[in-house]
Amino acid sequence: MKLEFEMNTYKSEIKPTWCPGCGDFAVLRSLQTAIHALQLAPWNIVIVSGIGCSSNLPHFLSTYGFHAIHGRALPVAEGAKLANPDLNVIVTGGDGDGYGIGVGHFIHAMRRNFDITYIVMNNQIYGLTTGQASPTSEKGMKTKSTPIEGVIENPLDPISLAIASGATYVARTFSGDVKMMSELVKGGIEHKGFALIDCLSPCVTYNKVNTYDFFRERVYDLAKEGHNPADMKAAFAKAIEWPAVQQDRIPLGLFYRNPEMPTYEDLEIALRKGAPVKQPLGVDDPDELMSGFL
């Protein structure tokens, strides 16, 4: 069967400017593979990003994109989704963008359960600003901003935070496994509700600790160990495994999924009329409206 959209249809003419070997190439490839597999029309996709190396991603695809300011991709995406719920809204960014400066929006977007897919390229470092500690940097890691004794804060765990905050599709993947990543991104886009896909995406320039090899030695597939993503308690148990409980095994895959939870768009009263962007402008009963002030 001939597909309407070829793989290349989704590519833009702009070449990524990431360092050779950057984990973000795999994420871009996975996203492209996922939207191709779903045969989404590129003009019905909006990819919103913030600021950081990974946030350049929308430029490399042929969809609509909004390259927002640092940490604010999610609220921009929420506004776009509310204005036109018919769009496929995908948010891409890094750990500094989403788990650092934008973490407030992250939590609130999840508790609202917007039908948005959030792909975080988590490299546990600030890359574009040349190597400072990020909210997910490991304790003890020496960076430009923690040069003497390393990071003394505990890393933020996006997976358990997401499950606790109300995200209804929570997954972790690794740039060393494009096939698994593509499947999980595809699942996230298909999922009705807020999907977080935390992608362990090594920074080959500034993070000499969390390398491809570091992950290859530790990762395992949750699905192969019989994890049931419908079980929230089990999801929490798996979420806190790394790095809080143990350092040597890192679970990948789908931690949690709840397809039953209504989305924000399902519950928002104004959307019952349809997409606001398609509604007529103005007021059809000005006299009645004004009479409320008499």
């Binding site: 003009w43 007529p280 007021v283 409206l289």
Partner: protein, 584 residues
């Protein structure tokens, strides 16, 4: 001279029912056919403290909430202590005989002192004394000889069909108050004849909401902050019916960013806040400027700096609006003077935002946003102009450039969902296509030029905005001894002062007023300034923020400056004094 206006001041502690009593009276006044204007002096507290509201009604259109009242209604001792000396001769003080003591030495001659056992009377109807303010309201209505059916309808509005027995009980309570006044000498005999033709009564914030609805707003994201919160409240209740998404969000960062996202996706989007919240929005509003995304931001000023006086008024956020965001981007700043302009300029702001694809800031203040005023019926047939769209302008998808360099600076827009016009809107500097200059091209000779051209393109929009925004206006006699220069809500008190000094002192004063703050109308202003003998700048801040803008744009320095920054709105009496001082 017969009196042509009346004023009631209601005072008590927060929680005493001052606002419900005064709002009911404002409604009664408007339904009696009076032009009505209210001012509430309240505090950042839920219970206790001292709050008061003045409701002024007039046979002629009003310009302020007025000065000393005819009647003060004291729901507590502090109201008596603070306000008793203000009551006009021939007026009256209504107070609760059981809880408020009178020191009649401070009261003006000829003021009637009406001690009424408000609490006891209320308790004859209901064991709790909640209705004592209703008894007092009934007394006030009787003093002013107003038609009691307006009391009935006001209560029906509040309790409606859901609690008719409560409405009825309140009517009875009001009748007890009226009866007490009749027993104590009857009404004030102000000589009023009420037309009883109801007038529309609303706040500046409500007028902004109506203007937004008329213009077809479809999205409001807001975080609560006095004195902008009532926009969120009104819209949350009334706007979904018109397909408007109203969203209370986690903070003002989210509010502005969501408005940006909604504007990008193609709806008319807005947010509203006060100065503190606007501070959080500035990075994101600059983002809208850079990505050329339309949106309307309502900035309702209160007393700063920092948290300041949350319930008090000021005009000191002008520099904030003018300078919001890093770098330079084109913006329009509109400053409504009254509710009619709140309606009209808000509606216009949406057109400007979409035509020029950039943020428009509407700057108001607490005095205008929260006070009730009567207005003529608004005309909802406002022009709706949505600006250039690539897909309907004959542009083809193949060579579409989102940031096409044009003479006007405006590039045809394409909304997500439009086949073939995909692009990325970026906050980094970009080329016509949207591709970034910032990462690997910045500084290369060709791209130095690209950046210059793109920045100039955006800034060229200011020329169009200047043409399409309302010009400054000269009000009053063409030739005057003094010209007051003003913006925003100062308008009313200034006009009142100008009329006063003309009538009482024969001094000719006019005023130069700026519904558009930015882009500054340089030529029109210079033209109007040519006829100015000497000038007095009146604005609600310490440093003369508008004066400085005026001087920067035109080289003209106002001769005198009258700033107010104590939290209170300008009073016509004070402006008149200042005028006389200056022209003496």
């Amino acid at each position: 001279m017969t009196k042509r206006d009346l004023a009631l001041r209601v005072g008590g502690a927060a929680g005493d029912g001052v606002s419900s009593t005064s709002e009911s009276f404002a409604k009664i006044s408007a339904r009696s056919g009076l032009h009505t204007w209210t001012y509430s002096s309240y505090q950042s507290v839920i219970r206790g403290g001292h709050v008061w509201t003045q409701v002024r009604g007039g046979l002629d259109p009003l310009l302020s909430h007025g000065g000393d009242p005819d009647v003060v209604l004291c729901l507590n001792q502090q109201t008596m202590d603070v306000h008793q000396a203000d009551v006009l001769e021939g007026g009256a003080i209504i107070y609760d005989l059981d809880s408020v003591k009178l020191d009649s030495g401070k009261v003006r001659k000829g003021v009637r002192l009406l001690g009424i056992p408000l609490r006891k009377k209320a308790q004859t109807l209901s064991p709790n004394a909640l209705m004592r303010n209703t008894v007092a309201l009934g007394a006030a209505v009787q003093l002013f000889d107003m038609d009691f059916r307006h009391v009935e309808s006001a209560f029906k509005d509040i309790w409606g069909d859901k609690k008719p027995e409560v409405a009825e009980q309140n009517v009875q309570a009001a009748r007890l108050g009226a009866e007490a006044v009749r027993e104590m000498g009857g009404s004030l005999q102000l000589g009023f004849t009420y037309s009883n033709e109801p007038k529309y009564l609303l706040t500046g914030n409500e007028a902004i909401c109506l203007g937004a609805l008329a213009a077809g707003v479809k999205f409001l994201a807001q975080y609560p902050m006095t004195p902008a919160s009532s926009i969120l409240h009104w819209m949350a209740l009334h706007a979904p019916k018109y397909g408007v998404v109203v969203k209370q969000v986690e903070d003002e960062l989210a509010a502005m960013n969501m408005a940006v996202g909604a504007g990008f996706a193609g709806v008319r989007a807005m947010t509203a806040t006060s100065g503190g919240g606007f501070c959080l929005m500035v990075e994101a509003i600059g983002q809208a400027g850079m990505t050329e995304t339309p949106l309307v931001a309502i900035l309702v000023q209160r007393t700063g700096p920092s948290t300041g006086l949350p319930t008090k008024t000021e005009q000191a956020d002008l520099n904030l609006a003018l300078g919001a965001g890093q770098g330079e981007w084109p913006r329009a700043i509109l400053a409504p003077r009254n509710p009619e302009e709140c309606f009209r300029l808000t509606a216009q702001a949406f057109n400007l935002a979409e035509i020029y694809q950039t943020p428009v800031i509407l700057i108001s203040d607490l005095y205008l946003s929260e006070g009730y005023r009567t207005v003529e019926k608004f005309d909802f047939n406002v022009p709706i102009v949505r600006g250039m769209m690539a897909a309907d302008g004959g542009g083809t998808a193949k060579d579409y450039k989102r940031y096409l360099l044009t003479e006007s600076g405006v590039s045809p827009r394409a909304l997500p969902g439009t086949k073939g016009f995909q692009h990325v809107a970026a906050t980094d500097e970009h080329m016509e296509s949207g591709e970034l200059i910032s990462d690997i091209l910045a500084g290369l000779p060709e791209y130095v030029e690209e950046r210059r051209k793109m920045h100039e393109k955006r800034m060229r929009k200011l020329e169009g905005l200047r043409k399409d925004t309302p010009p400054p206006e000269l009000w009053g006699p063409k030739h005057a001894d003094l010209t007051i220069i003003l913006w925003g809500s100062t308008w009313g008190a200034a006009h009142e002062a100008i009329l006063q000094v003309d009538e009482k002192d024969g001094v000719k004063v006019n005023s130069l007023e700026f519904p558009t703050i930015f882009p500054f109308h340089v030529d029109a202003t210079q033209h109007l300034l040519r006829g100015v003998e000497q000038s007095l700048m009146v604005e609600g801040n310490f440093t003369g923020q508008f004066s400085r803008l005026l001087r920067a744009e035109t080289g003209y320095k106002p001769d005198h400056f009258y700033g107010r920054y104590d939290g209170e709105p300008f009073a016509s009496r004070d402006i008149a004094d200042k005028i006389l001082e200056v022209v003496a």
